[in-house]
């Protein structure tokens, strides 16, 4: 067991972890942040995606100790964004289990690329699986959020932490 200092959604917290514990387990079980979802737990589905220093990572594949001294952002750290509004407007989900992972990944995409092309959007979002197959609506939501930002619609928070 070793103490690890994590900065999650701007909160600095020291947790005691086993070397083999994943970031997903620590977020959910020690920090009570259940937004990142356990899906395949094998790095395939992307439901557990979080940002580590602004970069999307699969929390089920990342050892918690590897995130020490990094800025971790979960879906709980991205409230009231244009992207979430766009997901609702475009009906970009059905069961919603995959939605946090898509939101986090798409948020990073929009932070990185002002106007992602269809190819860029596909390249980023093919890391996530939606078993309800809402892919068309999800891509539409990303376009809608990018357009809303262009048009100066309020709501998009700055990247925290």
């Amino acid at each position: 067991m070793q103490p690890v200092t994590l900065t999650v959604n701007g909160w600095v917290r020291t947790v005691v972890v086993r070397g083999s514990e994943t970031l997903l387990d620590v977020l959910r079980e020690q920090m009570g942040l259940t937004g990142a979802k356990p899906g395949c737990e094998n790095g395939d589905c992307g439901a557990c995606t979080v940002l580590v220093d602004g970069v999307p990572q699969k929390a089920c594949l990342l050892l918690a100790a590897m995130a020490a001294d990094c800025r971790v952002t979960t879906v709980e750290g991205l409230p009231r964004t244009q992207l979430q509004a766009a997901f609702i407007r475009c009906n970009a989900f059905q069961c919603g289990y995959c939605t946090p992972g898509f939101l986090v990944n798409a948020h990073a995409l929009l932070a990185c690329v002002a106007h992602p092309s269809e190819r860029q959007t596909q390249e980023w979002l093919e890391s996530n699986i939606c078993r309800c197959t809402s892919y068309e609506e999800i891509c539409e939501a990303v376009r809608t959020a990018a357009d809303a930002r262009d048009n100066g619609v309020a709501g998009e928070d700055e990247m925290p932490g």
Binding site: G19, G43, G46, K58, L61, L63, A65, W124
Partner: protein, 281 residues
């Protein structure tokens, strides 16, 4: 959840990494070096890997290099595949490496998987190896006996043949070969993410084509006899391809749930045709 525990040891210099390895090996912990540690998690979960200590080499400055220096393109083992795929420098100087990196796993996974982790991993395909094989890159290794540099073809035989306690720090590739005319082909069963049925990296040097393939055998390989057959320009294309495929050891060809042996060879023919048509032009 990984059903065993281990020490996580971030190393900041090659000497520190090796010292961790030596002390933990002495203590019977079967230490492992890691980059993104994705295989530690995925294989550890299903009992195909066990260790008492994981040594993270990503923070070693020389493993984070991505540069052109003295007529060589140098890539650190701790650089992620996304960094390679997105690098302007690599796109300009070693586009074949960028192309192979871009096709591995998915983008979010590539944000974590490192060059060294892919080259030294246990998964069959290890496609980042392919450009290094055809370009006869050098590998720079660190271990208990110090640093050494070796040509890829001397140290890579199915896997990177490391001595106990040794790890990959950098690869170095001649800029002329890294910039040679190239083609990268990856054929999957379906979709644009996932393991290959066949992947191939090829370059043309003078008039000759060099090819390294993954997905045919349970290891990446540059097959010189296959290249020799493929370069028999006196033959029509279809016969060159048949001659090349006839050099494949059928008993070694992968035959699994991803693709049957016969299908892999069928796809290999198609891949070789695309390579020749692209590089012969």
């Amino acid at each position: 959840m990984i059903p065993f525990d281990f020490e996580y040891l971030p190393a900041h210099t090659t000497a520190e990494a090796v010292a961790y390895y030596v002390s933990r090996a002495k203590a019977g912990q079967s230490p492992l070096y890691c980059g993104g540690a994705t295989e530690v998690v995925t294989l550890g979960r299903i009992g195909q890997l066990e260790t008492g200590a994981v040594i993270d080499i990503r923070h070693i400055p020389s493993a984070q290099v991505l540069t052109q220096r003295h007529d060589q393109v140098v890539a650190g083992a701790g650089v992620t595949l996304t960094q390679i795929a997105d690098s302007v420098l690599i796109a300009e100087t070693f586009p074949l490496l960028a192309a192979s990196a871009r096709e591995i796993a998915d983008r979010t996974a590539r944000n974590q998987i490192t060059l060294g982790g892919n080259i030294c991993g246990q998964i069959f395909y290890r496609e980042a190896v392919l450009p290094l094989l055809v370009c006869e890159s050098a590998v720079r290794l660190a271990g208990p006996n110090g640093l050494r540099e070796l040509p890829m073809d001397r140290v890579f035989d199915q896997t990177l043949r490391l001595q106990p306690g040794e790890f990959l720090v950098q690869t170095a590739t001649d800029t002329v070969l890294a910039g040679a005319p190239w083609v990268y082909v990856k054929r999957r069963k379906m979709g644009s993410v996932g393991y290959p049925v066949v992947s191939a990296a090829a370059i043309r040097v003078d008039r000759d084509i060099r090819v390294a393939v993954s997905g045919v055998y349970p290891f990446p390989v540059r097959a010189l006899d296959l290249e020799q057959a493929l370069n028999r320009r006196e033959l029509p294309l279809s016969r060159r391809i048949e001659a090349a495929v006839s050099t494949i050891r059928a008993d070694l060809v992968l035959d699994d749930v991803e693709a049957a042996r016969g299908y892999r060879l069928f796809v290999l023919r198609d891949v070789l045709r695309e390579i020749v048509e692209s590089l012969d032009a």
